[in-house]
């Protein structure tokens, strides 16, 4: 990142970047028929005459898609059009059964919003030109001898979020995509599974010298990861700079990014504006969104990640780093809110979530929404740690047990009792253990007495081991210091 910044600073060119992001809506059914939107499944098993474009069938707009679009619009500070319309966009492609895609041309659901992103040390606002709803196409499966078509994804609802050309670096692109993904996840508008293609972007880039008019724009299609979007942007800026430096001419072109090779290809050079023969979709009535509907949808908007991070810092005194990690995922962040909101020590809750809980979710392959316990269990656990009733290593063990089916529904307290993980804070018993360890390790004891103060941690470790992790480490430390006093 530092390197790229330096390169950008050294360049005499300024990049102007705008993004078109396609997000698949998290609706259960497709946008114009009742077919399932579940990812995968046997080819062409989630299809009907309607989404296969058979003659005589008619589209029925899934109102949930409009609701989700409005939700995204509100979260991105957009104006919601009370009256919008769908249009047919025509082109021939084997994965587009009707020969046209139903989209929105000049009256989208949402317009004129903005999104704040991190940029350098500060923040910047990226304008949102519009958000509209449209349908996805099917998928081509290229074989050795032929190409097959899977229409399962066809007619799944999408929103297209078109930014203003307000970005100027690969880092901006990354930060924008990251912030956008966060918002779409928080609002539940899209599951943003980039590996399933449910969030992808087209990147428009041009460069120019300060004070000169904007340069020729290229468009890179279908970037489907944050890192690919960043790398592709960096590559394309450099490519355009090289062409201009060498006295070449840039063409308006559509490019494809090859993430494996780390370079892009020209798909086609655009001589004319694309011709899609748009006209208003006559089979669907105009979309009307009332102020009452907007109010109801606004009421369902969750607190956005940025606001959450601020609250975590202010109310719970978490570091920016901790607040950032916790809010990456809404389910984990919700878990924290439930636990800390119940009065458990916030930092301990945060450590448990960022440490053991995140690790175990990863190991079990569970999405955070499916963590097998709730915030109140986590609060109980954090309180046990806070009260000194159990050690942090015992807390790890309890967390592990919370993931085990045999302990399903059991409270952390019950697990601590059942497994006898309670912390030993009985001073006389601990003193006896410490005495034994000092006697067994004369060399380390001598080192400490000789001034090597850090040697004490080895002894604490031995006591903890002897106590099977149940000794109160604070007390052990104090007792050892007392015993080792010359």
């Amino acid at each position: 990142m530092a390197e790229a910044n330096t390169a950008a600073a050294a360049s005499e060119y300024k990049a102007v970047i705008g993004l078109e992001v396609h997000a698949e809506l998290a609706t259960d059914s497709k946008i114009y028929c009742g077919c399932s939107t579940t990812f995968g499944g046997e080819e062409n098993s989630h299809v009907c005459p309607g989404c296969l474009g058979m003659p005589g069938t008619l589209p029925l707009l899934n109102r949930k898609a409009v609701e989700y679009c409005v939700k995204a619009g509100l979260a991105l500070n957009c104006k919601i059009n009370p009256f919008s319309r769908q249009d047919r966009k025509h082109y021939f492609y084997p994965d587009l059964p009707k020969g046209f895609q139903v989209s929105q041309l000049d009256l989208p659901v949402c317009q004129n919003g903005w999104l704040e992103i991190k940029s350098g040390d500060g923040v910047k606002r990226v304008g949102i030109n519009r958000i509209h709803i449209e349908e996805d196409a099917g998928k081509l499966i290229h074989g050795a001898a032929d190409t097959k078509i899977d229409c399962n994804r066809g007619a799944t609802g999408l929103i297209e979020i078109v930014s203003e050309p307000d970005m100027s670096s690969p880092e901006d692109v990354y930060a924008y995509m990251e912030a956008l993904r966060e918002i779409l996840l928080y609002t539940g508008v899209s599951n943003c599974k980039m590996e399933e293609g449910s969030l992808r972007c087209d990147i428009n880039i041009s460069i120019h010298k300060d004070g000169e008019p904007y340069g020729v724009r290229t468009e890179m299609k279908n970037l489907n990861s944050l890192s690919a979007a960043k790398a592709a942007t960096a590559y394309e800026i450099k490519r355009q700079e090289k062409v201009l430096r060498e006295g070449g001419v840039l063409f308006q072109a559509t490019l494809r990014w090859d993430d494996d090779k780390g370079l892009n290809y020209v798909m086609r050079v655009k001589e004319h504006a694309d011709e899609y023969y748009y006209f208003p979709e006559p089979d669907i009535m105009p979309i009307v969104v009332t102020p009452e509907e907007i109010r109801l949808i606004r009421d369902t908007l969750p607190e956005m990640p940025k606001a959450r991070r601020e609250r975590y810092r202010e109310r719970y005194g978490l570091s920016e780093y901790d607040a950032g990690i916790l809010t990456v995922n809404k389910a984990l962040s919700d878990l924290f809110d439930q636990a800390a909101g119940a009065g458990a020590p916030a930092k301990t809750c945060a450590n448990l979530i960022m440490g053991d809980v995140a690790r175990l979710l990863g190991e079990k392959g569970l999405p955070p929404e499916q963590a097998p316990f709730d915030g109140s269990a986590l609060a109980e656990l954090a309180n046990l740690v806070g009260e000194g009733a159990i050690s942090s290593s015992a807390a790890s063990k309890v967390t592990e047990m919370l993931f085990e089916p045999v302990y399903a529904g059991k409270s952390p307290k019950a697990i601590v009792e059942e497994m006898d993980l309670g912390q030993v804070s009985d001073e006389s018993a601990l003193r006896e253990m410490c005495r034994q360890v000092v006697a067994d390790n004369p060399k380390i004891a001598a080192d400490y007495r000789g001034g090597k103060k850090q040697a004490i941690s080895a002894l604490v470790g031995q006591v903890m081991k002897a106590s099977q992790g149940k000794a109160n480490p604070g007390m052990v430390n104090r007792l050892l210091q007392e015993l080792l006093q010359p």
Binding site: P55, H90, F92, I149, Y277, F279, P282
Partner: protein, 492 residues
């Protein structure tokens, strides 16, 4: 039954045959068998396919209707009545060709709402009816199965695009038929063949499951021998359908039970727009309407000339918007998933070009090309947008006219059926033959064509009655009244 009895039975109206079925003086099996026999003997080419497949088809359905009647479990007036559908209505497991090579072997896995409603009313499907290819035409002469002949004069066209539907009713091979009308495609062939044809209010009848020509104009409507039959059929197919987003929620009156006739004329104010009485209307057609106007006045109606100032834009606006929508609706025929696919292609693009090149006829291609032209970047503002503005102005014309008049009256078509094989020197000229019919599609209002008069050669003429949106019942009252005046004239 002897031949005379057969002929009498076949020429009954829907209401007439329903009464016999109700009294069990005739069985559905008998009338269905009779219709199938007549279909086989007919030389008018009204039918594309007949429902006599291995599953028993129409005769099996008729036997079921008869046993319902025997058990006193009749489904209503349509139970056991044989009828037919234009071949753009999808029926699960049955070929739906749209008279095109593209869909020649297309068997849909779903059924149109209209067909479902008729089935649940007990109507017997005799088969699927000829039409212009994908409804692109107004003479049923662009069908890959050949032109339909006009049963009144077999060397003449039946009109179109629902020409097979009009011919089947006129030749007594169906007691009624359902066609689709995006620009007169039910009313104009009805007029040409001397039967009743109605385009209901846009959204009154579900569009689900019939192959769309121009989505913002398409309406399914009945073709029948009498206005009463039309009311019976409309009652069976009208109503809200959750599968069609443009379908109307308004409750459906019982069009048949509520049907009134000439007595209503005393309270009717009728406007005759002068724009549809000008030089583009053939003299005899104009005189025919003038004569009717006099009779309506005699019957107590207030009849006045009125004006729809933007009428001159109607045909162009309709052609531009409907072609744009048609082009779009036709984009799905790429050879990838269903329908015709060319052979010997070298790439996807090659397959696409050949499939569409070979699969579509000239008129379909012409309208696709015009549609795409009017939507292209450089033309959109001059064509599509202008046409939509004109459409709004025309809607406003009608709104204002209906402030002063309950009904508007025009010829159903500017001419009578032309001879088969007539080549219009300019496609736009052929298109002008729909000039009287298209405004109702632009405005979304109900319109009916009812037979009144004939030309010197004996070819029937139709008159068109229009009313404000959702006043489908009013249109039927007036049409029934005109029918009564016709009966009086015939016997007086």
């Amino acid at each position: 039954m002897n031949e005379t009895q057969k002929q009498e039975l076949a020429s009954l109206s829907l209401a007439g045959v329903a009464a016999l079925l109700e009294k069990r003086e005739v069985s559905s099996g008998e009338v269905t068998g009779l219709m199938l026999e007549r279909i086989r003997e007919s030389k008018n080419n009204a039918y594309i396919c007949v429902n006599d497949g291995e599953d028993g088809g129409a005769l099996k359905a008729a036997a079921e209707a008869d046993s319902r009647r025997r058990e006193g479990k009749s489904l209503g007036p349509l139970d056991g009545v044989p009828m037919a559908l234009k071949d753009d209505f999808c029926i699960r497991g049955m070929k739906t060709t749209c008279a095109s090579r593209t869909l020649e072997n297309f068997i849909p896995p779903y059924t149109a709402t209209v067909a479902e409603k008729l089935e649940s009313a007990g109507a017997i499907l005799l088969g699927k009816l000829n039409m212009d290819e994908f409804s692109a035409g107004n003479a049923t002469d662009t069908s890959i199965f050949g032109a339909t002949r006009n049963p009144r004069k077999p060397e003449h066209v039946a009109g179109g695009s629902s020409g097979g539907s009009a011919a089947a009713v006129a030749e007594d091979t169906a007691y009624f038929a359902i066609g689709t009308d995006a620009g007169g495609a039910v009313r104009q062939p009805a007029a040409f063949c001397g039967v009743v044809g109605m385009k209901p209010t846009y959204g009154r009848v579900s569009r689900y499951g019939f192959v769309h020509y121009a989505s913002s104009f398409d309406q399914a409507g009945p073709l029948s021998k009498t206005v009463e039959d039309c009311a019976l059929a409309l009652s069976a197919i009208a109503g809200f359908d959750p599968r069609d987003a443009c379908s109307l929620h308004d409750p459906v009156p019982d069009y048949h039970a509520g049907l009134r006739g000439a007595e209503e004329f005393k309270s009717f104010r009728i406007g005759i727009p002068k724009e549809y009485m000008g030089s583009q209307i053939r003299d005899d057609v104009r005189q025919n309407l003038t004569e009717l106007a006099a009779r309506l006045q005699d019957a107590g109606a207030l009849v006045e000339e009125c004006s729809l100032p933007n009428a001159k834009y109607a045909s162009s606006a309709h052609y531009v918007i409907s072609s744009a929508e048609f082009n779009s609706n036709m984009a799905r025929y790429d050879g990838v998933k269903f329908g015709y696919r060319a052979k010997g292609y070298e790439s996807y693009e090659d397959m696409l070009l050949r499939t569409r090149g070979e699969g579509f006829g000239d008129e379909v291609k012409r309208r696709i090309l015009f549609g795409i032209y009017s939507l292209s970047g450089g033309r959109f503002n001059d064509y599509y947008l202008q046409a939509q503005k004109a459409r709004t102005m025309i809607i406003e014309d009608y709104r204002q006219a209906f402030c002063r008049y309950d009904l508007l009256l025009t010829p159903a078509a500017p001419v009578t059926a032309w001879p088969l094989g007539t080549a219009f020197p300019d496609p736009a000229q052929a298109y002008m033959m729909d000039m009287c019919a298209v405004p109702a599609n632009l405005a979304g209002i109900p319109a009916i064509s009812v037979p009144w008069g004939a030309d010197k050669a004996g070819l029937p003429m139709g008159v068109q009655v229009m009313a404000p949106a959702l006043c489908d019942d009013l249109v039927l009252h007036a049409a029934r009244g005109i029918e009564e005046l016709r009966e009086v004239r015939a016997h007086g």
